[in-house]
């Protein structure tokens, strides 16, 4: 095994691009010291992974986590029942977060698998999280205080959740920047620190970090980046060489050069992904299930790929329920719940449940006040909402956050007062994306000194640790 691995490392060094090489060299001193320290204290299995599950389009958090105590449910019903958007109280899956002082809350009935994880203390809820440039109240917001760029627009808000910078149009994502500043924790990695199973998006891009992007299951892991049609005869090798050599030409042309860089990276990693491991757990064959299954496979071959730290990005779309929300949202939540549970179970089977933390993000919450009514009822673009964090390193079974206008972590569930930005129940977040992300990033291994490099606006907010990670 040791021999194989050394051989493997040599190979992976050969395929590292020159820039990656240079980055590696720069970090070499640091790496050595760090590696020695790790070896002394933690042995060989110091592994951590963050898995971002992006609910694209704006998940209705108001129908994901619902008040289940009398006054709370009454407020909820007042806002949503008449138009037909309220979830029946008797169907809610009850939860009792300690931080809410004995109040009973409920999860959407389609989140039964997540409910079981809550019961095991493996899932926490971060409350009223959203894009902010500085803390806001209803009064300061309505008075014109600084707010996120293009607030309530999809691409901008989704982007700000992914960049954790809401003051302007950032060009890097927080996943990418986190990888920039923790890249040295991977020594001679065979693949990039970040892998997206959901295509290119800004979350994955750092200043130096370029993500690996692969397709979901059922494509076997060793075929996601396969180049077909090459034999071993001399003229075949010549064709292959011509293809590779051409990728290093015309680099002056920026668009061509960027296409070449991505293709070259695919060819490099293609050579590394040589096995398709077998998993213990059967995943649902849904969009999200298939993506998380591929993530689980990559985690399973982490040692082979020499990965100590990994960030994964998966995504489920179609949450933009301006209409016909109830059935569609139910089926999406069921998919989320089942896929995350299967993934969690697989991390248990692999013995890495405390090394892998899965968390949700979305564009925004939706308006508490419905859009339309009856069978086609939906909701419009909102703001602050609840997000889920799952794993054995999560201090689960509780709500986390910062006080809203009513002193608790959740906004006052009434429109046109309290925490509403306007009249439709777009709740002003009490927790910024930066605070949510920084809590995860610190657990992942980001040094305190680098916190403000990854999250440049973190200093605008009250604390950088929401406390949901061990």
């Amino acid at each position: 095994m040791k021999e194989d691995r050394r051989e493997f490392l040599k190979k992976s060094c050969r395929v590292l691009s020159m820039t990656a090489m240079a980055t590696q060299m720069r970090h070499f001193g640091l790496i050595n010291a760090l590696a020695q320290e790790k070896a002394d204290t933690e042995g060989d299995d110091d592994y951590k992974a963050l898995v971002c599950v992006f609910l694209d389009g704006g998940n209705d958090g108001n129908n994901s986590v619902i008040p289940n105590y009398d006054e709370g449910y009454a407020q909820y019903a007042t806002a949503r029942q008449a138009q037909g958007l309220a979830i029946a109280r008797n169907s809610l899956l009850p939860i009792t977060p300690a931080s809410m002082g004995g109040q009973v809350w409920g999860l959407n009935p389609n989140l039964s698998e997540l409910h079981s994880l809550w019961g095991l203390g493996k899932m926490a809820v971060a409350c009223n999280v959203g894009c902010l440039v500085q803390p806001l109240t209803r009064a300061t917001y309505q008075g014109g205080a600084p707010r996120p760029y293009q607030l309530f627009s999809h691409p901008d808000q989704a982007e700000q959740f992914r960049t954790a910078i809401s003051s302007y149009k950032a060009t890097t994502g927080w996943g990418g920047r986190l990888a920039d500043h923790t890249g040295s924790l991977n020594m001679n990695p065979a693949i990039p620190m970040i892998t997206s199973i959901a295509g290119a998006n800004i979350f994955n891009n750092g200043l130096n970090t370029k993500p690996l992007i692969v397709g979901a299951s059922p494509t076997p892991l060793n075929q996601v980046l396969a180049l077909t049609g090459f034999g071993t005869a001399a003229d075949e090798l010549a064709r292959r060489a011509a293809m590779s050599n051409s990728l290093a030409q015309d680099l002056d042309y920026a668009i061509v050069q960027n296409a070449s860089a991505i293709t070259q990276q695919a060819l490099n990693v293609s050579a590394q992904l040589s096995v398709d491991p077998t998993l213990t757990v059967t995943f649902p064959t849904t969009t999200l299930g298939n993506q998380l299954r591929q993530v689980a496979k990559l985690i399973k071959v982490r040692t082979l790929l020499n990965m100590k730290r990994q960030i994964f990005f998966v995504q489920l779309g179609a949450f933009d329920h301006h209409s016909s929300q109830l059935n569609n949202h139910a089926s999406l939540l069921r998919q989320v719940s089942q896929a995350i549970k299967a993934f969690y179970d697989e991390t248990v089977a692999q013995g890495v449940a405390s090394s892998v933390t899965t968390f949700t993000m979305s564009d925004f919450n939706r308006t508490f006040n419905p859009a339309g009514s009856g069978s086609t009822v939906g909701s419009d673009h909102g703001w602050g909402g609840p997000y889920f964090v799952v794993g054995d390193s999560v201090l689960g079974g509780n709500f986390y956050g910062r006080p809203t206008s009513n002193g608790t972590f959740v906004p006052t569930m009434v429109v046109n007062t309290g925490d509403d930005a306007d009249i439709r129940g777009r709740f002003i977040p009490s927790v910024s994306v930066e605070q949510y992300a920084a809590t995860l990033a610190r657990w992942y291994g980001l040094a305190d000194a680098d916190l403000s490099l990854v999250f440049p606006n973190i200093g605008n907010f009250n604390g950088s640790n929401l406390g949901f990670m061990m």
Binding site: P211, G229, A259
Partner: protein, 732 residues
């Protein structure tokens, strides 16, 4: 204004200025490899050092070294440019490259005529630029890169080599008149520009179109395509409306079996439309331009088969795009607003005064017409004192537009296509005054606008007022103009190019606003679009999967596959079942994942300042599927059946299959054992002759490594390599 003679005097270049050296600049003596339509940066007479002046604050002086600093403005001198009326500094870009090969884009400050043939271009140094020693300076204009001249930042020296073949390009002594180049050079025996033009205006060049354009020229060809009144070669698939919930025998599940077996596929999926689309793209040469523009507009006005899952629901939307591709934008806007597929997709069909839905109100502004930021007429954002863009509307604006779009729904009774029990997706939506919010609304405010719409108007009156309010917003020209340029020509047009197209949108020359014919003409005939070769480093666009695939197929006579013998019903043609190739490349035709299209139009290539919309779906995960497709169509390492195979059976998704014919390439390979004829032919037909010489050598080497008697493998090797090049993935 800076007088060149003063500069020369000050720089003690009098003597040098007197030297007639223009010939070595523009002459034929191989002195410079610069194409004759490229701008020329002026150097000292006896070296490749730039001629320049430096200003800090109000002082302008000569210097040999430029000291970096926020206030430093450097003026360079350029010639061999001939400006159109109104063409200004925003037609130019400039950059420095230092010895570490870092590129610094420079902010253009001004452009002044020095003499009738020399212009002074002033640039501001980037804040992050330190004392890096010698740099190479470049200017680009209309997609053409200048020669690069040397300048010293902070100190003289450093290890940056001149470009190969670089020669001094001193100040011309006489006024030179740049050879005027008309866009019409189509009559020449062969020019790369004809193929380039077809890459922009069609789904891919082929021999027939190339000959047609050569005979009649660009303008006439454009008119010919625009005049054609029958929009399709293959009849629009016109399926009946089906119930929202499929019946058990038409639900795609095996038990009970569907009847017919294709019931679900043909009535509840985009399959028939996708096949139709690809057949049109492959075979309808008379409507290439309309189809390409319609396809581009459909990526701006997005709806999706993911919501409107029946082909009968999406077909009227596609017909609306086709019908208006060369019509007026205002009419397109209205027909799109009232299109039932759009009404479903963005919820206008259910938005009522009692229960308003803001989805359509938001996206019509953000995506279809004016965008998020206030724009100058050249498409650059209007900024405040701190350099921040100004939003073009806010949530209150959206709330008001939401009100104005209430009260419209499907015409399920009494219209031509109304049928009991199904939703009418063919006729435009109709008003239901009872559901319309009749309160007063305040819409977009801009010079000349009447933003306040009084209370009590009918839904129709409100709609017309709202669409006019949007249509006349000054953002529409630059916003739509730039998106169409990005779809057809290049991802990073100069502001000047956007400005020229926006001006035509604003006024087609006869006082009409929104004339899409004129806009398309302006885009395709612009000097930034035309030319045999473009050398600006940021020119071009990554081909999206659909365009990549159709460009690979169209030059090689795509037909039905003959692996099972061609069924007569195929008439020898491909069935168009090609979406199976592009769907895994993240372009599932007519089923984009969201209203933000297959890829976001504002996607920025990571770690660059460059727009690259198509890079939103080009990743390690999709990149290798492109060469794998090329291998499928003509595998060099196999002599077996190629292409998308035809499969027999009534329910087959590929009853005819698709193949291409490379026999003419094989003949070329057989006729010339050097491989040169083969490679150069592909270079002309697929690369408009722009293959760089190192890459040409790579391809040639690989071809020559195949036994010369194996002309099939030689042909396929050359085809594979050209079609998989990054240079081919990018339309330049």
């Amino acid at each position: 204004m800076i007088n060149v003679n003063d500069v020369c005097r000050r720089l003690r270049f009098l003597m040098l200025c007197g030297v007639t050296c223009l010939l070595c600049l523009l002459g034929s003596q191989s002195a410079s490899a610069l194409p004759d339509d490229a701008p020329v940066l002026i150097s000292e007479s006896n070296s490749t050092r730039a001629l320049f002046t430096v200003s800090t604050g109000t002082k302008t002086r000569s210097a040999t070294v430029i000291q970096p600093g926020r206030d430093t403005v450097v003026t360079f001198f350029i010639t061999n440019v001939e400006l159109l009326k109104g063409e200004r500094a925003n037609a130019f870009r400039a950059d420095f490259e230092d010895s570490a090969h870092n590129r610094y884009p420079l902010q253009i400050v001004s452009l002044d005529a020095s003499t009738s043939s020399v212009y002074a271009l002033s640039v501001r140094l980037p804040v992050e630029l330190g004392s890096v020693g010698d740099v190479l300076v470049r200017v680009t204009w209309r997609g053409m890169s200048s020669n690069r001249v040397r300048a010293s930042i902070g100190f003289e020296g450093g290890k940056i080599e001149d470009d190969p073949g670089s020669v001094p390009t001193p100040m011309p002594t006489a006024n030179i008149s740049r050879k005027s180049k008309s866009a019409e050079r189509a009559d020449l025996p062969w020019t790369g520009d004809r193929v380039r033009f077809l890459e922009q205006a069609t789904f891919g060049p082929n021999a027939a179109l190339e000959i047609r354009v050569r005979r009649i020229g660009y303008s006439t060809w454009i008119e010919e395509q625009m005049d054609e009144q029958i929009y399709e070669s293959y009849v629009y698939p016109n399926y009946p409306f089906f119930p929202i919930t499929p019946s058990p025998t038409c639900d795609g599940n095996t038990l009970p079996p569907d009847s017919p077996a294709t019931c679900f596929r043909d009535n509840y999926t985009m399959y028939p439309l996708q096949n139709w689309f690809y057949k049109e793209a492959l075979y309808n040469d008379r409507q290439q331009l309309r189809r390409r523009v319609s396809w581009a507009l459909g990526q701006i006005f997005v709806t999706s088969g993911r919501v409107n899952s029946q082909p009968s629901q999406m077909m009227p939307y596609i017909q609306t795009l086709d019908r208006n591709a060369f019509g007026n934008f205002r009419r397109l806007l209205k027909e799109m607003t009232l299109n039932p597929a759009m009404g479903t997709y963005l919820d206008m069909a259910i938005s009522t005064a009692q229960n308003p839905n803001e989805n359509y109100a938001r996206e019509i502004l953000q995506l279809f017409t004016i965008g998020l930021d206030l724009l100058n007429q050249d498409g650059t954002p209007v900024v405040d004192g701190q350099g921040n863009p100004l939003p073009s509307y806010n949530q209150t604006t959206i709330n008001n537009f939401t009100k104005i779009f209430t009260g419209w729904t499907y015409c399920n009774q009494g219209c031509t296509s109304s049928q009991p029990g199904v939703i009418n997706y063919r006729d435009p939506m109709i008003p239901n005054p009872a559901n319309h919010d009749t309160s007063s609304k305040t819409l977009l405010n801009y010079s000349g606008a009447t933003p306040v719409i009084p209370a009590g108007l009918t839904p129709e009156q409100d709609l017309e007022a709202a669409l006019n309010n949007i249509f006349y917003h000054p953002n529409v020209g630059p916003f739509i103009g730039k998106l169409l340029i990005q779809q057809l020509v290049t991802s990073n047009p100069t502001p000047a190019y956007v400005g020229r197209v926006a001006a035509v949108f604003n006024n087609n020359g006869r006082g009409d606003r929104g004339d899409l014919k004129a806009v398309v003409r302006a885009i395709l005939l612009d000097p930034e679009a035309r030319g045999n070769i473009k050398t600006d480093p940021v020119y071009g666009k990554l081909r999206e999967p659909v365009l990549f695939v159709t460009n690979v197929l169209r030059p090689f006579n795509p037909t039905a596959n003959n692996n099972i013998g061609v069924p007569a019903s195929c008439s020898g043609l491909s069935d168009g079942a090609i979406n199976a190739i592009t769907q895994p490349l993240d372009q599932d035709v007519f089923s984009p994942p969201s209203v933000f299209n297959y890829y976001p139009m504002d996607y920025v290539i990571p770690n660059t300042p460059l727009a690259g919309p198509e890079f939103g779906i080009f990743s390690t995960g999709t990149a290798l599927k492109r060469p794998n497709f090329v291998n499928q169509m003509g595998p060099p390492n196999s002599s077996g059946a190629t292409g998308i195979l035809a499969v027999t059976g009534a329910a087959s998704n590929t009853p005819c299959g698709t193949r291409i014919d490379l026999t003419r390439l094989e003949a070329l390979a057989a006729s010339d054992s050097t491989g040169v004829a083969l490679v150069d032919t592909l270079n002309r037909e697929m690369m408009h002759g722009a293959l760089s010489s190192p890459v040409r050598n790579e391809v040639l080497n690989a071809v020559q490594s195949v036994q010369s008697t194996n002309s099939v493998k030689r042909a396929r090797t050359a085809f594979y390599l050209i079609a998989t090049l990054s240079q081919y993935q990018v339309q330049r």
